[in-house]
């Protein structure tokens, strides 16, 4: 509640601010669950190469489609590879690519949105038209075009995903900037003669940062789903790299008699998406931003 703020005197260090936000997030059950899932996945991504019991690409025709056992916890796939090994490794690529992709999306989407909000008028109109035009292209078709022209390397996937998922951030950043720009403190800075750069950096960014970060977190989970869909269609990372989308796609035909080879990656992928979503929501609530009314685009 607002009145409570009056009693907090000290300017807090950034570290204190961040830890307070995390504590607030974790104090809500949904936030706690989301954070736990996300942290679990991140830790797993870091340590999985060292703890994986088998070689993820070791094909063994004698061990095809083994049911889960003490030796092969999640069973084996159609090439006799250990599903457990491939599952714990399968999040690494997805997490890394989408994390950096989201950073790129945040950066260009945030900056372009702030710029549009600031300059307004014709330039803003034109830029937003273009952004809208892009928004209306089915992203998956465009992505397919890009990867078929440029290949599916990480260097292509990260900026391409970052580009497509930045569009939504442009809108949010622009709207937030619009709200701030009419305030007298901006007028005051203008009248004093501050440069545009200084106005953006000192006056606008601190006031729109939260909204943009929350949107970025939301976009991350959408990007993860998008990336996995690409892999599923065979346009993401290439085999034999372990990847959930790829694994689901490979194993989907075997569902009826080897359910284990498909369930493990599905659980992995969906839990990560739920984890990020819950975390993003808790993050928004901790910052006092209400997302509940907004439907994701």
């Amino acid at each position: 509640m607002k009145l409570d703020n009056i009693y907090q005197e000290e300017k807090k260090s950034n570290f204190a601010k961040v830890s307070e936000i995390i504590i607030t997030m974790a104090s809500r059950p949904s936030g706690f669950i989301g954070l736990s899932i996300l942290i679990f996945h991140v830790i797993l991504a870091f340590i999985s190469p060292y703890v994986a019991p088998y070689d993820f690409k070791a094909i063994n025709p004698t061990l095809m489609l083994q049911a889960p056992s003490a030796e092969y916890w999640f069973g084996t796939d159609d090439l006799g590879r250990d599903v457990f090994t491939r599952t714990i490794l399968g999040g690494r690529t997805a997490l890394t690519i989408t994390f950096f992709g989201s950073l790129i999306a945040l950066l260009w989407g945030g900056l372009l949105g702030i710029f549009c909000g600031l300059v307004g008028g014709k330039t803003d109109d034109i830029v937003m038209r273009i952004v809208d035009a892009f928004l209306s292209i089915p992203w998956i078709l465009a992505m397919l075009l890009i990867v078929s022209l440029l290949g599916t390397s990480t260097e292509v996937l990260i900026p391409a995903l970052g580009f497509f998922y930045g569009k939504g951030i442009v809108r949010v950043a622009r709207a937030a900037t619009h709200d701030v720009i009419a305030k007298d403190f901006i007028v005051s800075a203008r009248a004093r003669g501050h440069s545009n750069f200084s106005i953006i950096w000192n006056e606008i960014i601190p006031n729109v940062r939260d909204a943009i970060l929350v949107e970025g977190a939301m976009r991350w989970s959408w990007m993860l789903l998008g990336f996995s869909s690409l892999s599923f269609l065979g346009f993401g990372v290439s085999p034999p790299t372990p990847d959930w989308g790829l694994m689901i796609s490979n194993a989907r035909g075997l569902m009826s008699f080897a359910y284990w080879s498909v369930i493990a990656p599905i659980v992995g992928l969906s839990s990560l998406i739920i984890g990020i979503n819950l975390t993003a929501d808790a993050f928004a609530k901790a910052l006092g931003i209400d997302r509940s009314t907004k439907a994701p685009v």
Partner: protein, 675 residues
């Protein structure tokens, strides 16, 4: 004895803080509202007056809860009632007019339709009866030609007319009790006076009891029979209106009345030190102790109880009320303002005109503004160094527009703005050099908007120091502390964020930021209108002190003529972006006046039951200035005919140097106005 219709008994409302403490917003309130009376509730923002009014209709805001007590209406406790039962009472038996009710009308529905909806909801009338009732209601709130008004949309009405519609809707259910929360705040002075007069009329005509909540003692004085003064969630004084305004026996009310500027008095009123304590910070003793001139040792630790004085029919919460009883005529003393006006001219506006019209492509290409009837036109003023010149006029009269152009935020259409006799200021911000920008600083109306919520006080004040003087490190810090001291804030405020400051403190920070640039001219746009009266006086005194110390020139925009009277050396009256009268303040406040100045002066609400506003002209609002003739022709009650419609009047100058722009000769103006 008259019937009591609402009985508030030992009401406490509060919320739980993050730490789990119970924090009280209302503390043990008891009062009765009688049938047919109008009760005014006054208090500063945060004193709990709106919470009390809402509780009187059984509503407790989200996040708050009732800690104890009840609000009894028709012998049932509204606060314990089920929502379904409350719905039958709200709108029918108890109606409310919230702040900005006029603006809250649904924009795309016709007025008549909206009133009809209210009637369907709150009365049992049949369709044919409702139609009659609509024009009856519109008539009652004195809207001209009800039939046509009913067919209009809200945006086709002026602010005052919208407010009348809101009153009409509230009367739809013929309520026994009407609650009004700041019903005239935000309206123009003239409109405000008209709406209050209407409310008075309705109270008499229908016998409805009214509870009128406001921070403005001037407005309360005009309508109420009884006044309740709240401070920090408690009633500190309650009694007949006249006694409270003339002989306030509580130190807070006494101080409050003394801090309100009066039209009849030049000079700054005395300010009350400090500010109202935040809820939850008072643990013992009198809540007014810190600010009280009459406090004693015992007030510190003992809380005074509300004491009923039979002979005065007044309740008061103060140990020392007796000492005030003997000499409590509010003898207002003012701090005379020393004029520091020098002969040197510092700013000259000549033939300035400003237009908001959208420019055609050709004009854009040629980089010129063409508009034969611009928003602001013919502004000629020269301002002396050290002077305080005030721009007054109703909302939309172009006051802020002129300030923006002086600051370079808005391009002028024509005319010249000259600084220090020889330096032409470009009308475009980008073409002004940093020094041109430094010499003119702005202070805004609402410090919540003018201070970046994500910056600390230190960062806020550092901005101009870094920008104009390149200060860094220890020197920067020393300067910030220095400035904070000048605005009477301690060093420890440096690390605070705006949300951790009170309204008055925030405005002081804004003042410090303006002075940090060492400007020659400070443009003040309604700098005190967002502040409580007790704080307003302090900020005005501070501005005056700083001006005397630094020789700064102020251009002071305000709609409050009493505030302008208190602080300014010279006044310029604007109507529809055209000057009507310019002169030394003492002369502007005396007749002969421009007919528009006369209207403004007549509408001022003073906290004195003996001074009633004089309503000279209608409170219509014109969209655009007239193409030709006198700018005030549309509303002037003294209009002479064709000459006013066709010819722009020339300036007439009185002996004392007051310029009036009207076709009526000064002698006649004076004769008419004094009668």
């Amino acid at each position: 004895m008259t019937e009591i219709i609402q009985k508030v008994k030992n009401l406490s409302i509060g919320f739980k803080s993050k730490k789990g403490e119970e924090i009280l917003i209302l503390r043990n309130i008891s009062t009765n509202i009688k049938k047919g009376e109008t009760v005014g509730i006054v208090g500063e923002s945060g004193s709990g007056k709106s919470t009390l009014a809402l509780a009187m209709m059984g509503y407790v805001k989200h996040g708050l809860y009732t800690i104890g007590g009840e609000c009894e209406f028709n012998s049932s406790n509204l606060l314990k009632m089920k929502n379904r039962d409350l719905e039958k009472i709200r709108g029918r038996k108890i109606a409310m007019i919230p702040q900005n009710a006029g603006q809250a009308l649904t924009p795309n529905l016709k007025i008549g339709y909206q009133i009809d909806e209210a009637l369907q909801l709150h009365s049992d009338l049949k369709e044919e009866e409702r139609e009659k009732k609509i024009s009856e209601l519109l008539n009652k709130v004195r809207l001209p030609s009800p039939e046509t008004i009913a067919l209009r949309y809200p945006h086709e009405l002026s602010g005052g007319q919208q407010q009348r519609v809101a009153v009409a809707m509230a009367l739809a259910g013929t309520p026994d009790l009407l609650l009004l929360d700041e019903p005239t705040t935000g309206l123009d002075v003239t409109t405000q006076a008209h709406v209050l007069e209407l409310l008075n009329f309705i109270a008499k005509d229908t016998g409805t009891s009214m509870v009128y909540v406001s921070h403005d003692l001037g407005a309360i004085a005009q309508v109420s029979d009884r006044i309740i003064v709240m401070y920090s969630g408690e009633i500190v004084l309650e009694g007949p209106s006249r006694d409270i305004l003339k002989k306030p026996i509580h130190p807070y009310t006494y101080g409050l009345l003394k801090s309100i500027p009066k039209l009849s008095l030049a000079g700054l009123p005395q300010s009350m030190p400090g500010s109202q304590p935040q809820p939850g910070t008072i643990h013992r003793g009198c809540s007014f102790f810190d600010r009280c001139d009459f406090s004693e040792e015992k007030c510190k630790n003992n809380s005074p109880q509300l004491e009923y004085l039979e002979e005065l029919n007044t309740s008061v919460r103060c140990f020392n009320h007796k000492s005030l009883m003997n000499d409590s005529q509010v003898n207002q003393t003012v701090n005379e303002i020393k004029t520091s006006t020098q002969d040197k001219e510092i700013l000259n506006l000549s033939e300035v005109s400003i237009s908001y019209a959208k420019q055609k492509l050709l004009d854009q290409v040629l980089n010129r503004i063409s508009d034969d009837n611009p928003t602001v036109k013919d502004i000629n003023i020269n301002i002396k160094k050290g002077e305080t010149i005030a721009l007054v006029g109703e909302s939309g009269s172009g006051k802020s527009t002129i300030l923006k152009s002086i600051a370079g935020l808005l391009r002028t259409k024509g005319g010249i703005i000259k600084f220090d006799q020889n330096r032409n200021l470009s009308s475009d911000l980008k073409e002004r050099d940093p020094n041109d920008l430094r010499i003119i600083q702005l202070i805004f109306q609402n410090p919540d908007e003018s201070l970046n919520p994500n910056h600390t006080v230190e960062e806020i004040i550092a901005q101009p120091l870094k920008l104009y003087f390149g200060l860094k490190g220890e020197e920067l810090k020393k300067n910030i502390i220095d400035l904070l001291q000048k605005v009477r804030l301690g060093e420890f405020y440096m690390s605070r964020y705006p949300r951790q400051l009170s309204g008055g403190e925030k405005q002081r920070v804004a003042v410090a930021r303006a002075f940090a640039a060492k400007p020659d001219i400070i443009l003040c746009d309604e700098v005190t209108s967002a502040l409580d009266v007790s704080v307003q006086a302090a900020v005005l005194n501070l501005l005056q002190q700083l001006k005397e110390d630094f020789g700064t020139t102020y251009i002071f925009v305000s709609h409050d003529l009493a505030v302008v009277r208190a602080i300014s050396d010279r006044v310029a009256v604007l109507y529809q972006g055209r000057l009507c009268e310019v002169g030394p303040s003492k002369d502007v406040y005396q007749f002969p006046s421009h007919p528009y100045t006369e209207v403004l002066l007549g509408a001022v609400l003073e906290p004195d039951p003996d001074i009633k506003p004089k309503l000279v002209a209608e409170d219509i609002v014109e969209e655009k200035p007239p193409q030709k003739g006198c700018s005030f022709q549309g509303r002037c009650s003294r209009i002479l005919g064709d000459i006013c419609k066709n010819e722009v009047p020339t300036w007439q100058i009185t002996n004392s140097g007051n310029s009036i722009r009207c076709h009526i000769p000064l002698k006649e103006l004076q004769k008419d106005q004094i009668n």
